[in-house]
């Protein structure tokens, strides 16, 4: 009976994921896309002057970008059956590191970029080692590293934001392509596209699904589970480093208290996007839609004048409802 169960799971996992790079036939993702359109329509009707303005819509895309990049990394981790709570702190630390090396006329621009990406990847790598080879539950490892990395960010910056950054550093996130498209959005689109390609078109991507769907089955089929796990956390850390760099560039300072709660938004985007909390099922473009939904809701609530405390409650509820839908969907199968 046990064998049959795992066979079914593999089959189900294959069925849910063989849609390829982009496939809106899948009801789940189509449903989320419709929800997104409905929210958008409602907000446009409620606030045609403030919300529907082109500048605000571009602003929403900008707001979605940093979370979307984090959520892309989180997608890998959750697909593999884990979770990463440390990305918010990693954003803060890598932002501080990037800003410290971005004072005008000190280092060439590639130095802060490489350091931020490298530091983020290294943190993710350590998380991965703890999960894959220490056999420690992922949420404990990353809860611990969330605290440690936050402490490191505060120590590295002596608790003060790092100011006085070069114009070229500010340009990384602040610039525009063709005068209208913000760099941030370009980064987001690139990251999402590459993540989608890796997940759907490469052996590595299929292995991530396999590990999350049924770890034992993946192992006996010859997948190097430890390697895959270390890799997904490293990817999440790397993207958190990129997000930290972009945030520092966007707010023109490296703030050691930045990014608190970002892990929540990223998890919410992934789950809303239909990626299963238990791993092995979900689509990369679901995450993109999830990130857009979160940005639209946040922006809309701001414009409607809802207090940030109430938004905290709404965000928490959204996560629970999204997980609930996930469980309901599974119950039917």
């Amino acid at each position: 009976m046990f064998k049959k169960l795992s066979d079914n799971k593999i089959k189900e996992s294959i069925e849910r994921n063989n849609g390829g790079y982009f496939n809106l036939h899948s009801l789940r993702e189509l449903g989320i896309f419709i929800v997104f359109l409905v929210i958008l329509a409602v907000l446009m009707i409620l606030s045609p002057n403030a919300f529907a303005r082109p500048t605000n819509l571009i602003n929403i895309l900008k707001q979605a970008s940093i979370n979307g990049i984090l959520a892309a990394g989180m997608t890998f981790v959750i697909l593999s059956g884990g979770i990463d709570l440390s990305v918010g702190s990693t954003v803060a630390l890598t932002g501080v590191i990037a800003a410290s090396f971005a004072h005008p006329g000190e280092y060439p621009l590639f130095v802060p970029i490489i350091l931020a990406a490298g530091a983020g990847s290294f943190i993710g790598f350590l998380n991965g080692l703890g999960v894959a080879y220490g056999n420690i539950p992922s949420f404990i490892v990353t809860l611990g590293s969330m605290t440690i990395v936050r402490g490191l960010a505060l120590i590295a910056s002596r608790g003060q934001p790092v100011f006085n950054l070069s114009k070229s550093f500010e340009h990384i996130a602040g610039g525009f392509i063709f005068e209208y498209i913000p760099h941030l959005v370009v980064f987001f689109v690139c990251v999402a596209g590459i993540a989608g390609f890796i997940l759907t078109k490469t052996v590595f991507g299929r292995h991530v699904y396999a590990v999350g769907g049924n770890e034992t089955a993946a192992k006996v089929s010859g997948v190097n589970v430890g390697y895959i796990k270390v890799a997904v956390y490293t990817i999440a850390g790397f993207l958190a480093g990129i997000a930290g760099l972009l945030l520092a560039s966007r707010i023109v300072s490296g703030n050691p208290t930045a990014g608190a709660g970002y892990e929540l938004d990223a998890i919410a985007a992934v789950i809303i996007g239909g990626v299963s909390m238990s791993g092995g099922a979900g689509k990369w473009y679901g995450t993109v839609i999830g990130a857009l939904i979160i940005a639209v809701i946040g922006n809309g609530l701001d414009i409607l004048g809802v207090s940030s405390y109430f938004q905290l409650i709404i965000k928490g509820s959204i996560i629970i409802v999204a997980v609930l839908l996930d469980m309901k969907g599974k119950g039917k199968q």
């Binding site: 420690i136 539950p137 404990i140 809860l143 605290t147 405390y309 965000k315 928490g316 509820s317």
Partner: protein, 331 residues
């Protein structure tokens, strides 16, 4: 397991149980040699006061972890319960009984909600639902207080947090001892207490033996909320203020206390006295780092490392146990 290999295992078990106590003694000796202020009556009293809030939360967390779960919302529950009391006095209700009852009611109720979410709505591992409720309860605390601290509690409400009994022993620490004895009796000598261990040891086996697992889980999360409300009472007494942002690191400290104290992450194993030692160790560490002059930031790093190392030791212990079981089975 205990009787499988006779006395040898018992000896090892005693040693592993004494490990945290040994660590506590060693850290205390090191600190009293390192700084003169550590081994003073004033500082010891201070440690007892500091430990009591965390110990109360850790006791609730311990029961949750015993069932194989986790509650990441404890800090928010504590803040929420404190703020409910704060809002009461803001609205002119100064009756201490009413205040305390409402605080406990609020804490227990939101704990109950955690339990309902986990069981009735069949969410997966509770860390995801309690991450959600962590935000919801924190948002509620900020919302009802309009994000500003409320002070001016009546003397009777402050007593558990500020009072001393004799020899400078704080009332709050006495509360901890009494509650811990109560929990010890509850866990070891009542049917429900044993059921909590049973659910954590093997949920499926517990269900097949006729236990109402869902009911037990809901009760455990409600008790956790109740203990958080107790911590909130001590907290508002000690500071004479209800802070909506209080307890933001409470979950980390409580988890660390349990794990250091030998409560197994996999559920079903652990004692309340281990949790007390873990809680004291965390407090002594924090206190010592303060005395040495390490920044609050450094404390974050240390506590985070301590948690990961403690869980890793737990994992190693579990795998060693599984191995010795396998070997015994082969023989």
């Amino acid at each position: 397991m205990k009787n499988a290999n006779g006395k040898n295992i018992d000896y090892k078990e005693v040693l592993s149980k004494l490990g945290p106590l040994l660590a506590l003694v060693l850290v205390s000796i090191a600190l009293s040699l390192g700084t003169e202020q550590f081994m003073t009556v004033g500082n010891i009293t201070n440690i007892m006061r500091q430990a009591s809030i965390n110990s109360l939360i850790a006791a609730g967390m311990m029961m949750v972890i015993l069932t194989g779960g986790i509650d990441l919302s404890v800090g928010s529950i504590t803040a929420f319960a404190a703020c409910v009391m704060g809002v009461m006095i803001k609205n002119g209700i100064m009756n201490p009984v009413l205040l305390i009852v409402s605080g406990f009611g609020a804490g227990t109720f939101v704990g109950y909600i955690n339990g309902i979410l986990l069981t009735k709505l069949r969410l997966p591992h509770p860390f995801i639902s309690t991450i959600g409720t962590r935000n919801i309860f924190r948002g509620l605390a900020l919302l009802i207080t309009a994000a500003s601290p409320i002070s001016g509690f009546p003397k009777a409400v402050q007593y558990p947090g500020t009072g001393d009994i004799f020899l400078g022993i704080p009332v709050s620490f006495l509360i901890v001892i009494v509650m811990y004895i109560g929990i010890h009796i509850f866990l070891n000598n009542t049917a429900l207490g044993r059921h909590i261990y049973a659910v954590g040891g093997n949920k499926e086996a517990a269900r097949l033996s006729g236990l109402n697992v869902n009911k037990i889980l809901i009760i455990v999360y409600a008790i956790c909320g109740f203990m958080c409300a107790f911590a909130a009472l001590v907290m508002v007494g000690r500071l004479n203020t209800a802070f909506p942002l209080a307890g933001s690191t409470a979950d980390m400290d409580a988890i660390a206390s349990c794990i250091i104290g030998g409560v197994s992450f996999l559920g079903g194993k652990g004692t309340i006295w281990g949790t007390l030692i873990g809680s004291l160790l965390i407090t002594v560490l924090r206190n010592g780092l303060n005395l040495i002059g390490a920044s609050a930031d450094m404390q974050l790093v240390v506590i985070g490392l301590v948690i990961i190392v403690a869980v890793y030791v737990d994992v190693l212990r579990a795998s060693a146990e599984a191995k010795s079981k396998r070997l015994a089975a082969k023989k």
